[in-house]
């Protein structure tokens, strides 16, 4: 469960103070699939950094699994990212000269998980992210965009995080591949995962069960989406 209350974030540039987030409060329960939507410059990226424990708020409290992490040190934040949060980025961020398996194992390496356990968990997650077995030993730069993003999703899953945070996960993909990736998120949601998806596209946001709209650093709309857009996920991906 994550809870943000009265989060403000401002950057000081010389004498000028820019307020990026003004008094943002909301709660995400375990197992929810939430989309945070807003145009560029709305502050949604900053919001994502705070939710993802990459940054701390200027004022306000952020509680993740009943722990207030808004005043954590850099190393404490790193440890929270390592164990509680799985990231999926727009541009995948895979280590291009490493194998698919190694990429997925990387968070486990930093977490100090033993060798055999690492590989077992990585393979399980690759499977649930829909990466076929024969690709596990490929170098990640030999994959297509859709495949790369699935590997990235598997990497986000591998530490069994409280929260999967996806930042424009379909931004670098064509619409068909993008749909498949969104379908993967819906599958994970069906398995009980908590997912926060950040996007500027209403179409992408409509796949979630709840949509939060951010504008000028404030939440302007927060409502349930009773009929999420369904993706017909084919068992085999064409891309």
């Amino acid at each position: 469960m994550i809870e943000l209350s009265h989060i403000c974030k401002s950057y000081v540039n010389g004498a000028e103070e820019t307020k990026v987030l003004r008094d943002v409060s909301f709660k995400v329960e375990n197992g929810e699939f939430v989309a945070i939507m807003g145009p560029s410059g709305s502050g949604k990226s900053t919001l994502m950094h705070i939710i993802g424990a990459l940054d701390t708020p200027t004022t306000g409290t952020y509680t993740l699994d009943d722990r207030d992490i808004s005043t954590c040190s850099e190393d404490e934040l790193a440890s929270i990212r390592k164990t509680r949060i799985g990231f999926v980025f727009q541009s995948f961020h895979l280590l291009s000269r490493s194998t698919v398996l190694r990429n997925v194992m990387l968070p486990l390496i930093y977490a100090g998980v033993t060798d055999g356990e690492r590989e077992r968990r990585a393979r399980t997650c690759l499977e649930s992210a829909g990466v076929p077995k024969n690709l596990h030993t490929h170098l990640s730069n030999q994959l297509s965009g859709g495949q790369m993003q699935r590997v990235a999703i598997a990497r986000a899953l591998v530490n069994d995080p409280t929260l999967i945070l996806a930042d424009e996960p379909t931004g670098n993909l064509d619409s068909k591949t993008g749909d498949h990736v969104l379908g993967t998120f819906q599958d994970l949601h069906a398995q009980g995962r908590t997912i926060v998806l950040i996007t500027h596209e209403p179409y992408v946001a409509e796949h979630a069960e709840r949509i939060i709209v951010v504008r000028d650093g404030q939440i302007v709309q927060d409502q349930k989406n009773p009929h999420p857009r369904k993706v017909s996920v084919a068992t085999e991906e064409s891309s």
């Binding site: 950094h49 993802g52 990459l54 940054d55 850099e74 190393d75 790193a78 440890s79 990212r81 390592k82 164990t83 990231f87 980025f89 961020h93 280590l95 000269r97 490493s98 190694r102 990387l106 968070p107 390496i109 930093y110 977490a111 100090g112 990497r155 530490n159």
Partner: protein
């Protein structure tokens, strides 16, 4: 993160871009190889000079006629021509405490002939103690004995170069007759080669009894050198002072009409010269090491920039700053250590080549290998630290967005 995983990540980091890592290592390889090669030449030269000095004899004091021009090892060059030392002086020196053996000799360059060939060489009239004092050992036959001295025997011991010149290489010389200044001598011995080098080649000499020398060749009782062997290195200074005092007293003079040359003075002078040479060579090589080190830093800084997004990702998935520092520092250390090892091997090979083709003795001292390895690892640490720290301080948000 376990240590072994950390090491694996470093190795993967180094092997991921082989060309870049190879070029980084190249600077260190060249630096270390030149340090090893230069030091080996310096040390080899030093050893060669020290060997040739000690081949003259060990714990040796040379007494020569003629005054010493200045303190130290500089001896008046015409010293040999003065006539102040006699055989009885040599006999008297034997009584000084700390003296192990004394030889006296008188030498002169003469034409030596045998059936069908002749050579110009140095004839040294000397006493039996010459072998121990001057470190001469016999190959075949015997050296001059006291009996030869007493009877003024016409016998000769020849050096290998003389044997080669007169009788041909590896010919049997013992029992042959040679003619020196119109008198016939019987060869009774052949000395072992000393690898003669420098101004006085011990291999190119003929030894005859001192009494025979004064009777038939020089025509005088004076000797040109008295060699005194001290019992140990420690007593040499005392013995030298005693020789001075005794000879002054015997010659009844106040200013010395002779000079005493101490072998250890020679050694220390030569050592300081070769030491300077080694230092010079090492500092040239050191500069190339420094350049190699800066090359490493440059490469590592480029690597940090190139891998900014990777660093951002590692931080996003939970790597701590310390782990990033260790990763980059470790990669720099691996590159410099492997480069150092290759450089040591290459430098060793170069020094072997030099000794083979330039007929120059080279010695690769173990301390130089240790030093080179230590220095290359140190370079990795020092020049890897700044880029590593820079990498660890990157903000993950900015690093991930870096284009």
């Amino acid at each position: 993160m376990h240590f072994i995983d950390q090491v694996e990540e470093m190795v993967l980091g180094v092997t991921a871009n082989k060309v870049r890592s190879g070029l980084t290592m190249l600077g260190i390889v060249i630096g270390i190889a030149s340090v090893i090669a230069m030091l080996s030449v310096g040390q080899g030269t030093k050893k060669q000079i020290e060997d040739s000095i000690s081949s003259i004899g060990s714990n040796l004091l040379l007494v020569m006629p003629g005054a010493q021009r200045s303190a130290g090892t500089v001896v008046r060059s015409a010293g040999g021509s003065a006539k102040t030392l006699t055989m009885s002086d040599a006999e008297a020196l034997k009584s000084i405490p700390g003296v192990k053996a004394v030889e006296a000799d008188s030498s002169s360059r003469v034409q030596v002939t045998t059936k069908g060939s002749n050579t110009n060489t140095q004839v040294i009239g000397t006493t039996p103690a010459y072998t121990s004092v001057r470190n001469v050992s016999m190959d075949t036959g015997t050296f001059i004995t006291q009996a030869h001295i007493t009877s003024r025997a016409k016998v000769a011991v020849i050096g290998p170069t003389v044997r080669d010149d007169l009788f041909g290489e590896n010919a049997t010389a013992i029992g042959q007759r040679i003619r020196i200044s119109g008198m016939e001598y019987t060869v009774i011995g052949l000395t072992k080669t000393k690898g003669g080098s420098g101004f006085s080649n011990a291999d190119d000499a003929i030894y005859i009894p001192l009494s025979t020398m004064s009777a038939y060749i020089s025509g005088s009782e004076y000797v040109s050198t008295i060699g005194v062997q001290a019992e140990s290195q420690e007593v040499m200074t005392t013995v030298q002072e005693s020789i001075n005092a005794l000879l002054l007293q015997r010659h009844k003079v106040t200013t010395a009409d002779f000079s005493v040359m101490n072998q250890s003075d020679l050694v220390s002078t030569a050592s300081s010269v070769t030491g300077t040479l080694t230092l010079l060579l090492a500092s040239i090589a050191g500069i190339s090491l420094l350049v190699g080190g800066i090359g490493i830093m440059n490469m590592m800084l480029t690597t940090v920039t190139e891998r900014t997004r990777e660093i951002g990702l590692r931080k996003a998935i939970g790597a701590r700053s310390r782990e990033i520092i260790v990763q980059f520092l470790g990669e720099a250390m691996i590159e410099t250590m492997v480069g150092g090892a290759i450089g040591i091997a290459l430098g060793y090979g170069i020094s072997k080549l030099i000794s083979t083709f330039a007929s120059m003795e080279t010695v690769v001292p173990m301390w130089a290998v240790g030093l080179a390895f230590g220095v290359s690892t140190g370079i990795g640490l020092v020049f890897g630290y700044y880029p590593a720290r820079r990498a660890s301080r990157l903000n993950p948000i900015n690093a991930l967005r870096y284009e």
